[in-house]
């Protein structure tokens, strides 16, 4: 595999069957600790969301629908395997003060665990709530897009385990073409609501390395509809800080002026 090619995931949720093989494979390969034996009462989802101890998360949504020709009420299942987006403009990486978060030769975003000092800045910076601190360990953890496997020419554990190819791994360009084709097929078949999420390079994070085909609005799956990398506004923030700093100096100068 040629190095310096952007690799990613295309998660086609229209063919996800909710088997959670990806969750299990990820945990096994990456030795991710147990995230609790919880009963959440949220359909078949007892994982809840991505965290330091969950790097693939399958969402289950039971939507009431009216079956068109029969006029019957029923439900439709939406199932989607969520993962770190490996953003083109990754807030986690940009705010990391130690350089522990870095961009690999595959254009993925990975934490170097021997450098992370657990400052936690990346956690609230991620617009998707992906990266998280493992309290017992003190450091932050998230999907590495199986950096170790990629280096050995293997595909990530989740993609390999997915029985329906809902999770597709490959060169980013190729995946985007495939996604556009698949969207066309679904639209021609009249699947309302089918949409690509994160495949647009002009979005607020410059597009995702791991993007999705969804069957409803992103927020239905717990995803932000128009994420923006927070550092986009950083120049404006520093400008405001400069104004505030000068105001502080001015106030001190005015306060200390000797009355004549």
């Amino acid at each position: 595999m040629p190095v310096a090619m952007r690799m990613g995931f295309f998660t086609d949720t229209s063919i996800c069957i909710g088997c959670k093989a990806c969750e299990v494979a990820c945990k096994e390969w990456n030795n991710v600790p147990d995230d609790g034996l919880n009963f959440l009462g949220t359909s078949y989802d007892n994982t809840g969301g991505l965290s330091s101890d969950t790097w693939r998360h399958v969402a289950f949504i039971e939507q009431p629908v009216t079956v068109p020709r029969l006029g019957d009420d029923g439900i439709r299942w939406l199932m989607s395997s969520d993962v770190c987006k490996h953003c083109t403009h990754a807030a986690c990486l940009e705010v990391c003060p130690t350089g522990a978060l870095f961009r690999t030769e595959f254009d993925t975003v990975v934490v170097q665990q021997d450098i992370c000092n657990g400052c936690g800045y990346c956690v609230p910076a991620c617009p998707f709530g992906v990266i998280d601190k493992r309290e017992a360990d003190g450091r932050v953890w998230k999907c590495t897009l199986c950096y170790d496997r990629l280096k050995s020419d293997l595909e990530p554990a989740c993609a390999q385990a997915c029985p329906t190819q809902s999770i597709q791994f490959g060169p980013h360009d190729e995946l985007r073409e495939r996604a556009a084709g698949r969207l066309g097929v679904l639209q021609d078949a009249g699947v309302a609501g089918a949409q690509l999420y994160g495949a647009d390079e002009t979005d607020g994070v410059g597009g995702f390395g791991a993007f999705f085909l969804l069957l409803d609005k992103p927020e239905v799956y717990g995803l932000p509809p128009d994420p923006v990398v927070t550092t986009r506004d950083l120049p404006r923030m520093w400008k405001a800080a400069a104004g505030a700093a000068l105001t502080l100096i001015g106030a001190a100068a005015v306060a200390c002026r000797r009355p004549r």
């Binding site: 450091r139 717990g222 950083l234 405001a240 001190a252 005015v254």
Partner: protein, 297 residues
Amino acid sequence: MTAGDSYYGRPVVKAPVWKPAIALYFFTGGVAGASSVLGFAASITGHRRLARSAFVASAAGLAASGPLLVVDLGRPSRFLNMLRVAKPTSPMSVGSWVLTAFGPASMLAAASVVTGRLPRMGRLAAGVAAALGPVVATYTAVLVADTAIPAWHGAHRELPFLFAGSAAASASGIALACTPVTEAGPARRLAVLGAGLELGAFRAMESRLGEVGGPYRDGRAGRLARAAEVCTGAGAALAVLGGRRRRSAAVAAGALLCAGSLCTRFSVFRAGFESAADPAATVGPQRRRADASVRSA
């Protein structure tokens, strides 16, 4: 927000993992930064007693800040990794470097003014500390604003002014409590200016945020905000009314100003957690933006 606009009401962004030590650091760092500015301004205008109080307060604020920052790390022994790289895109990296330069300068200025030794070196250090102090007092505002938390990011224009005002109010409060009343005139004036900036910036922030600013009005962050308003306002009033004549009034004013500044910092800190927990705060504005861009396209 209807049920279909979130995934079982779960948050979209993660709440910070920072402990209250960090909110406390916003206060101590503010005291350290603003005191170095007040000390320098006081010393070049001949307010020697006041300058001395301010330099000592700056060093004390700094000394308190270091441990607060280190204990919050998941791996405290690796705190030096903060200086492994210099990254302008990370306000925490910028802050670490600025503190590294500010710290010794603030300490040296205080040591020199207390012992009377190395006066020229002390003056140089005081100048360096006064130049960096405003950064120390305001970069923390950029740090919290540079996140995906709606009540923080949306306030990125006002937060630096809020933190600068809060820093000035607390620094002048400490200075006027630790200085004879006849010498503390500049501290009283700075207390009023700082308190005005703090209260004004908070109002401006709230009105800009609109519904995303809910946490600053309701719940624990809202209660802290109201306490801050009362303490800061009362502290500034007491500083000018009673603080001119009686030292006891000046001490009480200083305590109120510090309490107000602390409440402000904790209000902002708490609001971040409450904002992160509410999926509507993240999804609502983004959905409106997305719909608007579809319409305009």
